[in-house]
Symmetry: D3
Subunit: 137 residues, 6 copies
Amino acid sequence: MIFVTRKMHFNAAHRVYQPNWSDEQNQACFGKCANANWHGHNYDLFVTVKGEINPETGFVVDLNWMKKIIEEHIIEELDHKNLNLDVPFMKDKMASTEVLAVEIFNILKPLLLGDTYALHGIKLVETERNFVEYFGN
Amino acid sequence: MIFVTRKMHFNAAHRVYQPNWSDEQNQACFGKCANANWHGHNYDLFVTVKGEINPETGFVVDLNWMKKIIEEHIIEELDHKNLNLDVPFMKDKMASTEVLAVEIFNILKPLLLGDTYALHGIKLVETERNFVEYFGN
Amino acid sequence: MIFVTRKMHFNAAHRVYQPNWSDEQNQACFGKCANANWHGHNYDLFVTVKGEINPETGFVVDLNWMKKIIEEHIIEELDHKNLNLDVPFMKDKMASTEVLAVEIFNILKPLLLGDTYALHGIKLVETERNFVEYFGN
Amino acid sequence: MIFVTRKMHFNAAHRVYQPNWSDEQNQACFGKCANANWHGHNYDLFVTVKGEINPETGFVVDLNWMKKIIEEHIIEELDHKNLNLDVPFMKDKMASTEVLAVEIFNILKPLLLGDTYALHGIKLVETERNFVEYFGN
Amino acid sequence: MIFVTRKMHFNAAHRVYQPNWSDEQNQACFGKCANANWHGHNYDLFVTVKGEINPETGFVVDLNWMKKIIEEHIIEELDHKNLNLDVPFMKDKMASTEVLAVEIFNILKPLLLGDTYALHGIKLVETERNFVEYFGN
Amino acid sequence: MIFVTRKMHFNAAHRVYQPNWSDEQNQACFGKCANANWHGHNYDLFVTVKGEINPETGFVVDLNWMKKIIEEHIIEELDHKNLNLDVPFMKDKMASTEVLAVEIFNILKPLLLGDTYALHGIKLVETERNFVEYFGN
């Protein structure tokens, strides 16, 4: 079993606020992350697949194929978008890094599954100072 | 003459579009950067002062003082904000990295000016792949 | 279960030497790390908490709260200090990255413990070329 | 149990192609990675040892000793070499990052083994965008 | 006048040796960089244009257009290639970072020239530890 | 004229304080940088030489030779040392990044001087957030 990781990135706007709360509650809990007119980040996404090495190719998976899967299903949905307004799979969800990471993992899991490999986990980096890792439940 | 640089950062949302143009023109020129619901970046800002070393302190300027000036006049205005909607000094201007860099320089120039030092230039990094440098005109 | 990491940093001086040994033994074992007048590093500290996502906030923990806990209990004790001389919790201990990492983990463990989250581990980076990870025993 | 990592690096040329296949098959599977006249990378190698802290030294292992072991057995074999042509332990193997990582791990495993420590795993970074991790089987 | 930079990258093999010299002379001067079977690098290329901000777009140049120019004329020629064997504009030239930087600059200069902007310089990074900058003659 | 840069590094302890001042004055001016028992940094040093490309080698200078010069005259003096106590060329000087940069430049200038090249400047990085550049007077 060996682990192979591909780094991707996207730029997005978001706002972290709880619509069931008052503005004061949102401000107290989320501070400037709740600002009404959005802010944004350069997100780095690391996708890790675990599997066996194919003896003919030397690869666990074809990283170009994996890149295209991630681009089509994740990056095109998120890049230069508003996570709260533009992304179907984030609709009615909190636009936190944690929630976004779980959603990305759940979308990729069935797409990156083969006889000799499977999705292991993802790491989603919001800023130089904070990131989230999820490996499924 | 020696050059001293302090790195700062802020996260902001923006949209690059020309309000005098049609949606089609904006899309043709700016592509996904013109998306209606904003996107965003982790911006890194490098501020460089040039000057003489004060023989008593060994410093050109007190970097903690310089940090506070930049925080008060630039970072508090930009961090977790929408560059198009929330920032007085960007009002009615294109929210490009170039325009933002010039505005930041012009604000900081009189604030970082002393008998033995002056603002030399700024570098504004929008993503790992593109940045702008401005040294005044 | 999801993992959330906050990066912190501090600058410190230290010296790695065994007071029960002769200078020759220290020199043979630790080389220039044992130099009498200290040297120092820019340390990066990554603190990782694991837990469940709070459905109301979208967060595992409030990262600003976690940052303040780490600043108060770790960074204020270590930043711009001498690890051998100034830090109560390192007294009479070897000032190695390994020992420091264990001490930091043990201090943070009860502070970063809630019903739905717990400290998972820390990563302490001494230089670009070496780091230590500790997840408790 | 604590984990200690040392980063090393080497620059090498390689080509990923399957000699049992036609040029067309190689092109279809490996694309430009199969180009006849080689290409190359700056590889970063992270070697992680797990073990107990020696109470006399504060170290799990002497990182200078570990660095010399890795230099002698791995870096001198790979640095400024052609992975397909020059490296005895890669002979008749696919020169992929996955295969190289497994070979490096298997060479280091018996060399980084003591009463209180053992090789935990390695991370081999081919480019900013892809890396492989192996922890043995 | 403002400066805008786009970062690109390519992976290539090369060998630094002087064909008019003996193997011994090459070994003495270039060391392992002269190894017969090539080695390689992940090159980062920073291309900087200087110019005036277009008041309608807020841009000095369209960075997507500039990226395509660099990809077509430089990256496609160099990426996953052998600098000594595969690159027409490096034929019969030393495959050093310095020579490559001058050639790249000379190719890009007429391509990145407009009424309000011009190529300022390039930075070519061979490894984390060495890079070359060229601004024309 | 082309510019070639070599990155070096060293780890050192220091303290920024003015011995002619009272403790209160030092604390007011330098804050925790004046702490009595020292702190330290991982310093990165970039040394840039400008010159003409030697047509026989393709190099401005032999970077291995330049590395040895810098190691012998700068790194061995500074690495794992106390800038205030251990470094002859810093004796009775303020141990600031600015002063250190000027001293390093002045030492290297006559050593990196040839018929076709000369020292252009140095960049001394104290932390991720601040650095100094000096190009002579």
